[in-house]
């Protein structure tokens, strides 16, 4: 026994090191995940260092000819107002990422709190919150977003608010389900029996167990949010011109698609790369950490 005990702590450290090593190995084996990570890093870096990378002022009109093709000076051509498409596309990634960060962040926080309340609170409150979640989920997301924008006016804040509201119920439901499962677990009963209050139980014993799956779920929603932001901006319901934004550039390009394909090509590809990158990364994270996690539609 003494021998076993003196050996075991070392094996524990070895186990911990082993588990982080297996994560890295699994991740490296997941080629798509790696590709996703590279894309995500590339896009994030571009967004952060965008002001250093642009070749022209993305907002100033008539820096070049109108609707020109690619050239050495204008790498991706120019748009209908003679603005440099390359500079606009480089700057245009900031808003989708900002929207994703802000909306999913607030949605995560609200969903977490409401899910914990629903899962741990009294039965009637649980039922009420579930009804609210189901109601919000029954709104068709884009159509609901359009309705909200009709009311609040087209702006970045409206988009962030709409995405936060529509994505919240899924997070809250996941948290609720997990919390409810934990609620009847023996260790929660054990904590209660020692006199621990609800706040302490939720913060110390439930939250750490719920947060992991939730973060994976949120990371898998990033591509959808980028798509929604780009889509709404494409419909002219997002940022106001002349702010550069992928969806808005795509819309401009779409209007002049018969004259030049370049703005469409230049703004569509980053949207595709961003959604693909975050999707591959999110799926890889899920496969490694929580293969059983499935998000209902």
């Amino acid at each position: 026994m003494a021998i076993v005990e003196s050996i075991l702590p070392e094996t524990n450290d070895a186990m911990a090191a082993e588990s982080s090593r297996t994560f890295l190995r699994q991740f490296r084996q997941n080629l798509l995940g790696m590709l996703g990570a590279v894309l995500v890093i590339f896009i994030a870096a571009t967004a952060i260092f965008a002001p250093l990378m642009i070749t022209h002022d993305p907002i100033r009109i008539m820096v070049g000819p109108r609707l020109a093709g690619p050239s050495l000076d204008f790498l991706l051509g120019t748009d209908q107002l003679g603005r440099d498409t390359f500079s606009r596309v480089v700057m245009g990634g900031r808003i989708p990422l900002l929207v994703a960060f802000a909306s999913l962040g607030s949605s995560l926080a609200v969903g977490l709190v409401l899910g914990l309340i629903a899962g741990f609170g009294p039965r009637w409150l649980d039922n009420l919150l579930l009804l609210v979640f189901d109601t919000i989920r029954s709104f068709p997301s884009i159509i609901f977003a359009l309705a909200m924008i009709a009311l609040l006016g087209p702006s970045l804040a409206s988009i962030i608010l709409v995405i936060a509201i529509t994505s919240m119920p899924i997070y809250a439901r996941v948290v609720r389900t997990q919390t409810e499962a934990l609620r009847s677990s023996e260790y929660i009963a054990a904590e209660r029996s020692m006199g621990a209050g609800t706040t302490r139980i939720l913060a110390v014993h439930v939250l750490p167990n719920v947060l992991g799956p939730l973060l994976i779920l949120v990371s898998m929603d990033v591509p959808a949010v980028i798509a929604v932001e780009a889509g709404l901006s494409f419909l002219g319901m997002g940022v106001r011109p002349p702010t550069p934004d992928w969806g808005a550039i795509l819309n401009d390009g779409y209007s002049y698609i018969n004259q030049t394909p370049w703005p469409v090509i230049a703004s569509g590809i980053p949207i595709v790369l961003a959604t693909l990158g975050f999707t591959f990364l999110g799926e890889a994270l899920r496969d490694i950490f929580d293969p059983k996690l499935r998000k209902d539609l």
Binding site: E186, A190, E191, S193, G195, A196, T198
Partner: protein, 347 residues
């Protein structure tokens, strides 16, 4: 000695369906009575066992005492204070003086906490921050025979026996007056069971707490406890001193239960009494004596008249509910081998 814990006429109900569904299906009483009128007391330093098949309400008693389950009626008083009606915050000072160990040794430890944090939790919960918690954790580990290195481990890195020791250490962290142990040997190897029981017995003599043991392991009952209570469908059917009940069970159910216990001694005379039939559902309790459906002595009156608890003549403390209690010795004491804790049998 005065009673540390006194439970009187405790009733606990569980809802079986939602009120809407009950209305829709025309069910008048969508409840089952998990406990119907249980009374007992535990004195300071005493050990009482609750014995019965699963579903008989043993764990419900424990959960109600500790406040995880509300009673419909009845009273629970701890050290002379009524605690059943207390809410969470009011109950807290009493929870400091009792502790409960749950069935699953690993599952009752919060999975993301280290053993050190698990052991120091009781201090933090009860606001005893001034104590040297690190030192306390070490002291507690030493108390249950674990080395200090265990403090850094997580529950899933412990064996069942080690986790059980951690559970004991945590339960005893604040030196409670009452320890409730729900199946303390469940899921452990036989050799480890012995170690755990010896540890509990040693700590009881050192610390002097009362223990309420819930188990269906009769060997544990026999060698750990002063008194025992046998439960059937949420009622006590026989209560008394452990030794006396083992020697002379009066209720037919107790007789069958004791006879079903595998004898550790291979030379013991096999004297099995088969219980016929299944445990009746709590939703459809039998009329009269609730055991009559399975009783081999059942008479006509048993299915009609509910037997009141009666005290045995020779000892007021030995009480049972039966119209036709077993009179004589069916198993002479001489044939039941006496086991002593921690020597040979529990290895």
């Amino acid at each position: 000695m005065s009673a540390l814990l006194r439970v009187e006429d405790l009733r606990v109900r569980f809802r079986t369906m939602g009120p809407l569904k009950a209305l829709a299906t025309g069910t008048r009483a969508p409840f089952i009575d998990a406990l119907c009128g249980v009374s007992f007391e535990i004195r300071k330093g005493e050990t009482l066992a609750l014995v019965g098949e699963s579903g008989s309400g043993k764990s419900t008693i424990a959960r109600t005492i500790i406040g995880l389950q509300r009673a419909v009626s009845g009273s629970i008083s701890f050290d002379g204070q009524e605690i059943e009606e207390l809410s969470g915050a009011e109950r807290k000072p009493y929870l400091r003086r009792m502790a409960m160990m749950f069935q699953d040794p690993i599952g009752s430890l919060s999975p993301r906490l280290t053993v050190r944090s698990l052991l120091t939790e009781p201090f933090r919960i009860h606001g005893l921050k001034d104590r040297d918690v690190e030192g306390e954790a070490e002291r507690l580990l030493r108390m249950v025979g674990l080395s200090a290195e265990f403090a850094r481990r997580y529950p899933h890195q412990l064996s069942g026996g080690q986790a059980r020791r951690v559970g004991i250490a945590r339960a005893l962290a604040l030196s409670p007056d009452l320890l409730i142990a729900d199946e303390p040997t469940a899921g452990l190897d036989v050799s480890v069971q012995g170690e755990v029981l010896n540890l509990l017995a040693r700590l009881q003599t050192e610390l002097g707490m009362a223990i309420l043991i819930i188990t269906h392991n009769l060997n544990v009952v026999r060698h750990m406890t002063d008194r025992m209570a046998i439960m059937y469908l949420g009622r006590f059917i026989e209560v008394g001193a452990t030794e006396r009940i083992f020697d002379q069970p009066r209720h037919p159910y107790t007789e069958a239960l004791l006879a079903a216990n595998p004898e550790p001694d291979p030379d013991a005379v096999l004297n099995r009494i088969e219980l016929k039939g299944e445990v009746p559902s709590l939703m459809r309790r039998p009329s009269g004596c609730e055991f009559h459906t399975r009783c081999r002595y059942a008479q006509d009156i048993c299915s009609r008249v509910f037997p009141e608890p009666s005290a045995g003549q020779e000892d007021k403390k030995h009480s049972f509910r039966c119209h036709f209690p077993i009179a004589g010795d069916i198993l002479p004491t001489s044939e039941r081998p006496k086991l002593s804790i921690g020597k040979t049998r529990f290895r």
